[in-house]
């Protein structure tokens, strides 16, 4: 008997782990990357991994990126699998973004706004020319930006709140004490509330959410968006421990917030009014925050009495497909052996072909 | 008229009282009442926006009216208010003792299932499990609606508009429903195709003794099919009676306008 069943899956797996470790290290003559180097110098990559991994920890995100050889989706997966084992100690108070220490803040709706337009750090107006100075052996030294003459206001009102007085924009959803849905502890259930929708989009794959957002502005969703405000900076996280009964600060985190203003024609009961779309991310993730705000608004179609005609408006399509960990797992699982199902299909196709040949032979004989 | 008189002696099949439905401030239909007996065909006419489609959606359980009652004489339970019926019971009724023929066959057919499968779905849904019998019954109905049996295994997307509509009718009638709702059944079809479909419908309705409620803006359709007629305007029923009476001697100015605007054929 020439055939021996394939064995040794266990050894293969161990060897595969060794190989990937070797590849990850690359040329051992070069210095090994440190976690702080990744965290400091690949900051936007770390931000994305923290955001979609839904855990605010720069070191862990940097470690995940190092372990994943810079593959963001794999790093997000690592972080998520770690996060799921962590206990829930407390639920924070809602953050107040008017009290953000603003580093960047722009509005596309008014030329000047209370608190001012603050360009801050952005690639927006860089010319996308490869900077060979960054490739030079001696590096770029210590670039430094100039300080402004005077500090920004400590409280900067949200542009979108300026409309509120006139009723030109729908009212913000009031804060209430209802328990917020936790997508990481409960299965998603449709139709999704705002909490489920926003959590899902915040954790959603940046590329997928960006593509959906793009589609809404290209006729597949009828979006006419204005960036009411985009702001980046640090906010304080507070919790109220039960035995204390008053809030204490536990952390300062960087977030990006986007308030998108959208058109709405009004109904019999309601005069015409602008509507909101909301995006919020950990770290500096403007592309994601804007995309999220657009898709959030598109998904409100049914709530606002609009026809649900396009993919980005259909929560049954969008929400189950945003998650990169789920999507990646399922798409790549087709690599797993399917010998048994394939054999079943193969057998059927052979049977059907035999039957067809037999039928044809019979016909020919007649 | 003697046929109609005979019908009126039978017990009421569907009794509708005071049905209203509004959308926000807009009236869909207002305080509509009527009854229909087994085997009777009722036409509801009016222009777009007159509330006839809203009324049909309320009657067939696709829309919840704001007020009113809809009593149907169920086969096994006698008269029951449809608005108090549970959802599974309503869905079951809708695919056994009722039929719904949509204006657009796409709304009433499974476009990726063969003609035979489309007709066979209702029997299978209520427990038919013999392939040969299901297929034979489906083919029997395809013949009744004049679809060539060589098309049994073809999908409806390869059919013409008239064929799709006939298939939709067969799919509904296979369980021998006692009441069929039709929403502009000849809408969107060529005139010659319309005539053939109307002939077919008239034959089937008479032969099977089916009661039907037909909503249309086409007076020729009701002239041919309906025993009785209701005319709707702005959500209300403004005139009703035997079809020939209403069409030949309309009383309400709006009905007069409607009748005179149609070329006499």
């Amino acid at each position: 008997m020439a055939y021996v069943a394939v064995k040794g899956g266990e050894r293969a797996i161990i060897n595969s782990h060794r190989l990937i470790a070797e590849e990850r290290r690359g040329n051992p003559d070069l210095a090994e990357l440190t976690i702080s180097q990744i965290s400091e110098q690949l900051g936007l990559s770390v931000d994305r991994v923290m955001n979609e991994g839904s855990i605010y920890d720069r070191d862990l995100a940097a470690l995940a990126l190092k372990q994943a050889q810079g593959d963001a989706v794999e790093a997000i997966f690592l972080l998520r699998a770690y996060r799921t084992t962590l206990p829930r100690i407390a639920v924070s108070k809602p953050i107040d973004t008017t009290r953000m220490t603003v580093r960047r803040r722009i509005s596309a709706t008014f030329k000047d706004i209370p608190g001012g337009q603050v360009l801050g750090p952005t690639y927006d107006y860089t010319h996308r020319l490869l900077d060979f100075a960054l490739a030079a052996e001696c590096g770029i030294g210590k670039p430094e930006a100039e300080l402004a003459d005077e500090p920004l206001d400590s409280v900067i009102p949200r542009v979108i709140d300026l409309f509120d007085g006139e009723g030109l924009i729908e009212a913000d959803i009031s804060e209430n004490d209802e328990e917020v849905f936790d997508l990481t502890r409960e299965p998603m259930s449709l139709p999704a509330g705002r909490d489920q929708r926003l959590q899902n989009l915040a954790r959603g794959d940046e590329g997928f959410v960006l593509g959906l957002a793009y589609s809404t502005a290209r006729g597949y969703g009828g979006a006419h968006p204005f960036v009411g405000e985009l702001r980046l900076g640090e906010v304080i996280i507070e919790i109220v421990p039960e035995d204390l009964g008053f809030p204490i600060e536990i952390a300062e985190v960087t977030i990006t917030e986007c308030q998108m203003i959208n058109q709405f024609r009004g109904t019999a009961e309601q005069p015409p009014q602008f509507t909101r779309g909301y995006g919020l991310t950990f770290g500096h993730c403007e592309r994601k925050a804007m995309s999220m705000a657009l898709v959030d608004r598109a998904l409100r179609a049914r709530e606002l009495g609009e026809d649900v005609r396009y993919p980005a408006q259909d929560e049954g399509f969008v929400l189950p497909h945003t998650d990169s960990v789920e999507a990646n797992g399922f798409v790549t699982h087709f690599k797993l052996p399917h010998y048994v199902d394939f054999q079943a299909e193969l057998q059927l196709v052979r049977q059907l072909r035999e039957q067809r040949e037999a039928d044809q032979a019979k016909e020919a004989a007649e | 008229m003697s046929a109609v008189r005979k019908l009126q002696q039978r017990p009421v099949l569907l009794e509708v009282s005071g049905v209203s439905k509004s959308y926000g401030g807009q009236v869909g239909c207002l305080d509509v009442s009527f009854s229909i007996r087994p085997g009777e065909v009722l036409g509801i006419v009016g222009e777009s926006g007159s509330g006839k489609s809203t009324l049909l959606a309320c009657l067939s359980g696709r829309l919840q009216p704001d007020t009113g009652s809809i009593i149907y004489d169920m086969k096994d339970r006698g008269p029951v208010d449809m608005l108090l019926l549970s959802e599974p019971e309503r869905r079951r009724l809708a695919r056994t003792d009722w039929g719904i023929v949509h204006q657009n066959p796409r709304d009433g057919l499974r476009m990726d299932v063969s003609a035979g499968g489309n007709v066979g779905e209702r029997p299978m849904a209520i427990g038919a499990r013999h392939y040969g019998n299901i297929r034979a019954e489906a083919q029997d109905w395809l013949q009744k609606v004049e679809i060539d049996l060589t098309r049994t295994d073809d999908k409806p997307r390869t059919f013409s508009g008239g064929m799709q509509q006939r298939l939709q009718i067969a799919r509904n009638l296979v369980t021998k429903p006692r009441l069929v709702f039709m929403d502009e059944p000849t809408g969107g079809l060529d005139v010659s195709v319309q005539a053939r479909l109307l002939d077919l419908l008239r034959g089937l309705v008479r032969e099977l003794g089916i009661a039907a409620i037909i909503v249309t803006h086409d007076l020729a359709v009701v002239r041919l099919l309906a025993d009785r007629l209701m005319v709707m305007q702005r959500g209300r029923v403004i005139e009703e009676g035997l079809t020939d009476q209403v069409l030949d001697d309309p009383h309400h100015p709006y009905t007069q306008l409607l009748v005179s605007s149609i070329l006499q054929v």
């Binding site: 899956g9 299965p187 193969l346 | 063969s114 779905e121 499990r129």
Partner: protein
């Protein structure tokens, strides 16, 4: 890996027994009880993110992790085999995080986690079979809208499913489903048996073991309690039938087990061997023994049709 900033536990030491925290296990056990009370009904549960990719058995792993105890003996198979890479990987995971005994022998296992097969040897009372499920809802392909399929299950409206079988016969002359063949559980709920070949469907019927199904990505759990009716859909005049092969297993000569096709060369050479490696090995060993002692080759056993 070590170094400053490395906070991640790189061994099982930092994790709970069987990885999941006790609260999560309790939640999943409650879900399992509900699933066993309503055979075939898909119960939503708060599925956790696992250190294994979705689609690679996260549902099965969560179920196994919630029911496994230190005294259990675990068997993991993929495609019927204990030595396929994903089976090895999942077995290693439980060895690391729970330190339980493992086995390749069906009869010895208290818990068997499987992907795509049911073992050939009959299961016994007290054993638990845990299936990995990619798509728990058999109606999903008929209507992707979950709101609608939930109603169809709730009202037992399964006509549209029967239509798909009708279509097969109309088109191919036979029901053309070969795996993930839908079955009616306890004459009430339509269930996906997971992508096992239809060959295995009859084994689910009236089985003494507990059968648990976990779909991690879709966050659903369902179950078939012991001795429950599981009927594969069919027509009176086209009854359900399972795969058969013309030959026998090239290694153990079984004529009643599910066979894998193995391509042996590039000139069309192929052979058929048991997909259940434990069953096949055991028969080969028995045969070697009986040949040595001059006895008779053991007849096929176990695989009942």
């Amino acid at each position: 890996m070590s170094g400053p900033g490395n906070k991640q536990c790189d061994t099982g030491d930092g994790y709970s027994f069987a990885y999941l925290d006790e609260q999560t296990k309790r939640m999943i056990r409650r879900t399992l009880l509900k699933a066993l009370s309503i055979p075939g009904y898909q119960v939503p549960f708060g599925g956790r993110e696992m250190p294994l990719a979705y689609g690679w058995g996260t549902g099965g792993i969560q179920v196994t992790a919630s029911i496994i105890g230190p005294d259990d003996r675990l068997k993991v198979i993929d495609q019927g085999a204990d030595d396929t890479t994903n089976a090895v990987s999942i077995r290693r995971f439980f060895e690391i995080v729970s330190n339980v005994a493992t086995t390749e022998q069906t009869a010895e296992a208290t818990i068997i986690q499987t992907r795509h097969r049911i073992p050939e040897a009959p299961l016994q009372e007290g054993q638990i079979l845990v299936y990995q499920v990619p798509q728990p809802d058999p109606l999903h392909k008929i209507d992707p809208r979950e709101n609608e399929t939930r109603k169809m299950h709730a009202y037992a409206e399964y006509g549209a499913m029967q239509v798909t079988l009708y279509e097969d016969i109309a088109r191919f002359g036979r029901i053309a489903r070969t795996y993930d063949y839908p079955a009616m559980v306890n004459a009430r709920h339509l269930m996906s048996p997971s992508p096992i070949p239809k060959f295995d469907n009859p084994k689910m019927e009236n089985n003494p073991a507990i059968q648990l199904f976990g779909a991690g990505r879709e966050k659903r759990i369902y179950a078939v309690p012991p001795y429950t009716s599981v009927r594969s859909l069919d027509f009176d005049d086209h009854p359900f039938e399972v795969q058969t092969w013309k030959g026998c297993c090239a290694l153990c000569s079984s004529t009643v087990s599910y066979l894998d096709e193995v391509v042996t060369d590039d000139r069309g050479g192929r052979m058929f061997v048991c997909s259940d490696t434990d069953y096949c090995n055991k028969r080969q060993a028995d045969r070697a023994l009986t040949t040595e002692t001059g006895g008779i080759v053991a007849p096929d056993e176990g695989a009942k049709l």
